[in-house]
Structure formats: structure tokens, C-alpha cells
């Protein structure tokens, strides 16, 4: 064997969770260099939006990410409402928060499932997907769809919550808070899991800031920032929840942050359901957005999502720019895998929670 060789992991590779490539240069098994290659899933999303009216873009925003469709369409309608200077009814804001948190839980469960296969344990995969099914059922009840929910509307949400949705929601959350401990026990009580996660893919606080990491990836490195708490949108300032932060900076820290986030999401759902006001869920929105530059940000399950909208007074956007959290986070992959072993690549990149739909757009 030559001393060093390039190994191309991807685009069709079990670890990559989507179409992307990580070229790694290995010395034996130790990685000495790495290059991420993305762009296999580029659909010209931003350009395509310029040819659609504002309401027509909502279902497209769903398709930015398969497991976080709710937050992306939510982000889009927030950007447009910013431009329209529209006041959303309070009940609609509560419903959006509930939907966002359900989305966060099911997205994190999807990540946990993928994490299980990355480390070679199918039990974690199937147990996580089993729990995720409950929350997808909630989506079906709320919006009629499992993945591409198409729920938020400019000026509110599409429909009020159905009969007995509150009861179902509470039951799901209560059941989930018990069942998640089973999965945690499977991972945290196993010395093999800990030895695979602890001390690999280490990023310091400063490096995280320089690389522009956001979301759980950043909070796993000790940066205490969450858009929901520090720049609250909708009605997040009314709820009492904690932002989990881990000082570890390794794969285990990011894992622990995501697990705790699921518990906090349950707490938010519970509070939102308890304080749900009566009233309309949607107001009439004008067709044309006045000319100007508008901007919205929110806490996506994967990091900070940002949309920058330039409108020219017509019923179509002049330009819609998406700042995808994973597009930025994947640039950290070289820093993360450097010095690690070949076997650490799935464990480390798994904690980034790749989603190529939003990365390549």
C-alpha cells in the first residue's frame, strides 16, 4: 500500500445521507486531508422562485429539506410577512410554534436513526423511526401530509388544528418523553458508543465561530446562542425553555445537545398547547409585496436558517436568497475529520446532520 491515498466517499455512499462526496486522504486509516464536494442536488431553487408568485413558493420551500419542511416554509412566510408588514393572528403564531417543534423532534429523530446506522447499530435506527412515526402522524392530523407539509400561509396557517389534536399532541409528547430514555440507554449506557463518540471531531468554541457553525453543531462546541431565545420570532418569548449547551466540542457534545433539545421541544409543545388562544388562524394578505429588502431568520433543526427577499412591488420576488445552515456547516468537515480515523468519518459527519436538499438548493 502506498503511504497515502485518496478515498472518495460518495456521492453514493452509506455514510453520506444524501448526495455529497467527501474525498479523504488517508495515511493507513488516519485522515490527513479532506475535501467536501457538494452540488449534486442543485435544482436552481432560488432562480425558480423568481418565476413564481409568492403563495406558489410555499410548497417549494417545503422541498428544501425533506425532514424539516415545516421550518423552511415557515421561514419563507416570515420573510414575506416582513415585507408586507403583516400582523399574524396569535393563534396562528402558536400553531406555527407547535408545528415547528414537532418538526424539530421528528427531524432530530431522523438524525438519531441515521446516527445509529453510522455507528453500526440498527436497533437505534428502528427505535428512533418508530418514535418518529408518532410525530409524523401528528403532522398528518394537522396538515394532511407526513413530509411536505405545506402548512404555513402568508398571514397565518392553512387550517386550524383538528378536533382532539391537543389531546393527541399531549399523549404523543408524554409517551415520547418516556420512550426516548430507552434509546438514550442504548447509546449512553454502552461503553462502545461512548468510546466512538467522545473525543472525535473536536472543534473549539473559537473555531466554531470562525467556521460559522450554527445550531446544535455550534451549541455542542460551547457557544450559547439560539435564535428562539436570543432573537425571538412568533411567540417564542412567551415560553420558558432552556437552550442546551455542551462544552465538550466533540461528537458526543453535539449528540447530547440534540437529545436535550428534543426534551425542550416537548416542553415548548406542552406550554404552547396550554396557552393556545382562541381566534382566527389566518388573515387576508395582499397579493403584491411592496418594493424593498426583507429578511427573516429562524432556528432550523440543523442550525440558523435565513431568507433574504428583494421585492420589486410585483407579485413575484425579484430575488430570494437562502442561507442554509448545512451549506456553512459542511465547510467545517475538513476541520472535523482531520486527524480522525476512517471509521470516525460517519460518527463525526453524522453529528452534523447533513441534509442536501437545502445545501444545494
Amino acid at each position: 500500500m502506498t503511504s497515502k491515498m485518496w478515498v472518495t466517499m460518495g456521492p453514493q455512499h452509506p455514510f453520506s445521507h444524501g448526495l455529497w462526496t467527501l474525498k479523504v486522504r488517508v495515511d493507513g486509516e488516519v485522515i490527513t486531508d479532506a475535501t467536501p464536494i457538494i452540488g449534486y442536488l442543485h435544482r436552481g431553487w432560488e432562480k425558480e422562485c423568481e418565476h413564481r408568485t409568492y403563495p406558489q413558493i410555499i410548497p417549494m420551500a417545503d422541498r428544501l429539506c425533506y425532514s424539516a419542511s415545516m421550518t423552511w416554509s415557515h421561514l419563507y412566510v416570515m420573510a414575506v410577512e416582513e415585507g408586507l408588514d403583516l400582523e399574524v393572528p396569535e393563534r396562528a403564531q402558536y400553531l406555527r410554534v407547535v408545528a415547528d417543534e414537532i418538526c424539530r423532534i421528528q427531524s432530530h429523530l431522523m438524525w438519531l436513526a441515521a446516527m445509529g446506522t453510522d455507528l453500526g447499530n440498527l436497533t437505534v435506527f428502528l427505535w428512533s423511526l418508530r418514535e418518529r412515526e408518532i410525530f409524523l402522524d401528528l403532522f398528518v392530523k394537522l396538515c394532511g401530509q407526513r413530509l411536505t407539509t405545506n402548512y404555513p400561509r402568508i398571514g397565518g396557517v392553512r387550517n386550524d388544528m383538528p378536533y382532539l389534536f391537543e389531546r393527541d399532541c399531549m399523549r404523543a409528547v408524554e409517551r415520547f418523553e418516556k420512550k426516548l430514555w430507552d434509546i438514550i440507554a442504548l447509546m449512553d449506557d454502552s461503553a462502545i458508543f461512548l468510546s466512538r463518540m467522545q473525543g472525535v471531531g473536536h472543534v473549539t468554541r473559537k473555531e466554531a465561530a470562525n467556521l460559522g457553525l450554527t445550531g446544535p453543531t455550534m451549541r455542542g462546541c460551547g457557544v450559547d446562542f439560539d435564535v428562539r431565545r436570543d432573537d425571538p420570532y412568533e411567540v417564542y418569548d412567551l415560553f420558558d425553555f432552556e437552550v442546551p449547551v455542551s462544552q465538550d466540542g466533540d461528537a458526543y457534545g453535539r449528540y447530547a445537545v440534540r437529545i436535550e433539545e428534543m426534551f425542550q421541544s416537548c416542553e415548548i409543545i406542552r406550554q404552547a398547547m396550554a396557552g393556545m388562544p382562541d381566534g382566527p388562524v389566518r388573515v387576508k394578505a395582499p397579493r403584491n409585496v411592496p418594493a424593498g429588502k426583507h429578511f427573516a431568520r429562524l432556528e432550523d433543526p440543523r442550525g440558523e436558517g435565513l431568507m433574504y427577499l428583494i421585492s420589486d412591488g410585483t407579485d413575484r420576488p425579484y430575488r430570494l436568497k437562502v442561507r442554509s445552515p448545512i451549506f456553512v456547516n459542511v465547510s467545517a468537515s475538513k476541520r472535523l475529520v482531520l486527524g480522525a480515523r476512517m471509521a470516525d468519518v460517519p460518527a463525526v459527519m453524522g453529528t452534523i446532520d447533513m441534509c442536501l436538499g437545502e445545501t444545494d438548493r
Partner: protein
């Protein structure tokens, strides 16, 4: 002359050219079957041509012995094959229970799923990479599969169910057991694929870390029993205690090392599918892949069978001097050990190359040495 003049069931041990001195059940089955089949053929030939010399030859000792051995091998292999299919079925069903999902679905209780999967791989096209080393590619995998089947055939199921009773016993089995990692290295190299190359290298790294503790445990078992012969080791355990009692450390070390030898989670580094696609098997498709999978289970069977023979008293029932259905008792013990392996697979994650080296050299090797010391002390102290 009627058919009863030609067909007669005799004692298989009375056959003058028989290689077996003791009673051998599969040989007796083959012997008896040929006495029936050959007798009928000889009778029919005698009807056509009365008084010919072929008919007596067909039911003579020489032909009966030869055909008896032939049928015996088929019976022996068929039993092991069915045992392995059952073990795969048990693994899939148990994993289904652990993971809360449906397991196998075809046939009664899903038992025929393995045959369906086998048929599916059989129908696949034979593909060989253009730039692969053809000889290495085919020979390496043939030896991997062949050695697995060979050692499975070398394990006796009971004192009356064996292919050969040989003095080197365990030593030969362990020797052939260790051939496969070398061939995995060759196969990984021959495929001309970086993933399989890394997988092959991992197999080599893994082998040097668990082979030595395993052989030390093997040495302590042989030392305690005073024989390499499997029958004598089991007989020794029946006369004294099962070796799991004095050598519980050795048993644990052996099960960990055997899991690694059989390349099962958590030690399936050479085929780690998360980072290496399918590891050293990446370029093997179709029936070759199916046979590799089957040989994995043969190796798992051998690992569990060795554990049962060396530590759980083989075919003996506790607190009983007589043997009752020894084959069934032995296979039950094998399945029990296999269940532990399946359980581990459902629970653990895959460990890393440097970690298995650490476990092998820093944990298993000292434990195996301690186990050897205990055995030596017990031997010197005259306990055994």
C-alpha cells in the same frame, strides 16, 4: 429369486472395509440406505440377466462402504446446512424482536425466507471487476467459503455423529479457522478497490489482536483436558466439571475473540458498511456474496460449537452420566451461545480499529494469561 434375497439390512460396523471402528450414525444411515437401494438395483439387474456377477458386487462390502460414505457426507452436510439456515432464521427473528419490527415473512414462521434470499442471490449475474486480479479474486473467496464449510464438517455433533475422529482435533480446527483472515486480505487486495483494500487491511489488523488470546485460551483448555481430541475433551468434562466453572475468564475471552473471528458486530470492522460500503466484500456480487454471507454463519456456528465443546461440556447433560439425544443437546448449546452473539449484535455499535487492538492486547491477552495460570495452578495442585 425374490427381492428379499437381495435386500438385507446388516450392521454397519460389521462391514470389513468400513473406516469406522465405533458406531457412526450417519454412516449407518448411508450404509443401510445403499443396502436397500443397491439391493433393489441388484435384484432388477438379476431379473434381466440372471446369474450375472454385477449384482453380488453391488451389494458387496466394497460398494456398500463406498456408497455409504458418499450418502453419509451428504447427510452430514445437509444437517449442518439446515442447522445454519435455522441459526440465520433465529438471528433474524431475534433481531426482529429486539428492533421491534417484522423479521422474516416467507413460509411457515418465516422459515423459508433464507431459501428465498439464497435463490435471489443465485439468480444474480456474475460480475467481476475488469481490473481485478482474476485469480486472487476467485481463489481467495473460494478458500474463505471452503474453509468455513470444511471446519463446520470437522466438528462432531456427538460421539456417534462425526466425519472423522482424529487426534489433532482442536488444533486442526483452529488452524483452518485462522486461514480466512489471510484470504480476506488477499481478496481485499485482488479486487482493486480502495474500500476492500482498507477492509482487508483491517482484517489483518483485527486478526493479530484476537488470535493470540484465543490460542492461549485454547491452550489452557487443552492443558486441562490433557488431550487435543474433541471426544476426550468432552469426556474429561463429563468425568470432572465443565470447564466454564474453573475457566470462566477463559470462556468470556473466548466468546469475545470468537465473535471477532466470526466477524460479527461489534467486531465486523473488515466489512464496516457505514464507512467502507461493504468492506472487503464490496466487489463481490450475486451468488459469491450469498455464499460469503452463508460462510459467515458457518464460521459463527463453528465459533459457538467450539465454545460449547470447550466450556459447556459438548453433548453432555449436567449431572448425568449417560447421553440422551447427544446431537440435540449439543445443538441446543450451540444455539444458546449463538443467541448471545445475536443479542450483542442488536445492542452494540461497531468498534474502531485502534480500539480492537487495545481490547485485544490490553484486556484479552492479560486475561487469557491469567486464565492459563489458573489452569496451571489447578493442574499442579492436583485438582484436575
Amino acid at each position: 429369486m425374490s427381492v428379499s434375497d437381495w435386500v438385507s439390512i446388516s450392521d454397519s460396523t460389521a462391514n470389513k472395509v468400513s473406516p469406522y471402528e465405533v458406531y457412526n450414525l450417519p454412516y449407518a444411515i448411508g450404509h443401510g440406505l445403499w443396502e436397500i437401494i443397491g439391493g433393489v438395483i441388484a435384484w432388477l439387474i438379476n431379473i434381466i440377466a440372471p446369474g450375472n456377477r454385477l449384482s453380488p458386487f453391488l451389494i458387496g462390502d466394497f460398494v456398500t462402504n463406498m456408497m455409504g460414505l458418499f450418502i453419509m457426507v451428504v447427510v452430514f452436510f445437509a444437517v449442518i446446512f439446515i442447522v445454519n439456515l435455522t441459526m440465520i432464521w433465529i438471528e433474524r427473528k431475534t433481531l426482529g424482536r429486539i428492533m421491534d419490527r417484522r423479521a422474516t415473512r416467507i413460509g411457515p414462521l418465516g422459515y423459508l425466507q433464507n431459501l428465498a434470499d439464497g435463490l435471489k442471490t443465485f439468480l444474480k449475474e456474475h460480475i467481476m471487476p475488469e481490473k481485478a486480479d482474476k485469480k486472487g479474486y476467485m481463489w481467495a473467496v473460494s478458500i474463505v467459503i471452503g474453509s468455513a464449510v470444511l471446519i463446520a464438517g470437522m466438528i462432531p455433533l456427538s460421539p456417534r455423529w462425526f466425519l472423522a475422529d482424529y487426534g489433532t482435533g482442536l488444533l486442526l480446527i483452529f488452524g483452518i479457522f485462522a486461514v480466512s483472515p489471510f484470504m480476506i486480505l488477499v481478496a481485499g487486495w485482488a479486487q482493486n478497490n480502495k474500500y476492500s483494500l482498507i477492509g482487508g487491511m483491517r482484517a489483518a489488523a483485527q486478526m493479530i489482536s484476537y488470535e493470540i488470546p484465543m490460542l492461549l485460551v485454547f491452550a489452557s483448555v487443552v492443558l486441562m483436558a490433557g488431550s487435543l481430541n474433541i471426544n476426550e475433551i468432552v469426556q474429561f468434562q463429563m468425568d470432572n466439571t465443565w470447564f466454564i466453572v474453573p475457566q470462566i475468564i477463559g470462556f468470556v475471552v473466548f466468546m469475545v475473540a470468537a465473535t471477532a473471528e466470526a466477524e460479527r458486530i461489534p467486531f465486523d470492522l473488515p466489512e464496516a458498511e457505514a464507512e467502507l460500503v461493504e468492506g472487503w466484500q464490496t466487489e463481490y456480487g450475486g451468488m459469491k456474496w450469498g455464499l460469503i454471507m452463508l460462510s459467515d454463519y458457518f464460521r459463527g456456528y463453528v465459533a459457538c460449537a467450539l465454545g460449547a465443546i470447550m466450556f459447556l461440556g459438548g453433548w453432555a447433560i449436567p449431572f448425568m452420566d449417560t447421553l440422551v439425544l447427544p446431537e440435540i443437546v449439543f445443538l441446543l448449546k450451540v444455539v444458546l451461545l449463538f443467541f448471545i452473539m445475536v443479542w450483542a449484535r442488536g445492542t452494540f455499535a461497531r468498534i474502531r480499529t485502534d480500539q480492537i487492538l487495545n481490547i485485544g492486547w490490553k484486556v484479552l491477552l492479560p486475561l487469557a494469561v491469567i486464565n492459563l495460570f489458573i489452569v496451571v495452578l489447578l493442574k499442579i495442585g492436583g485438582v484436575y
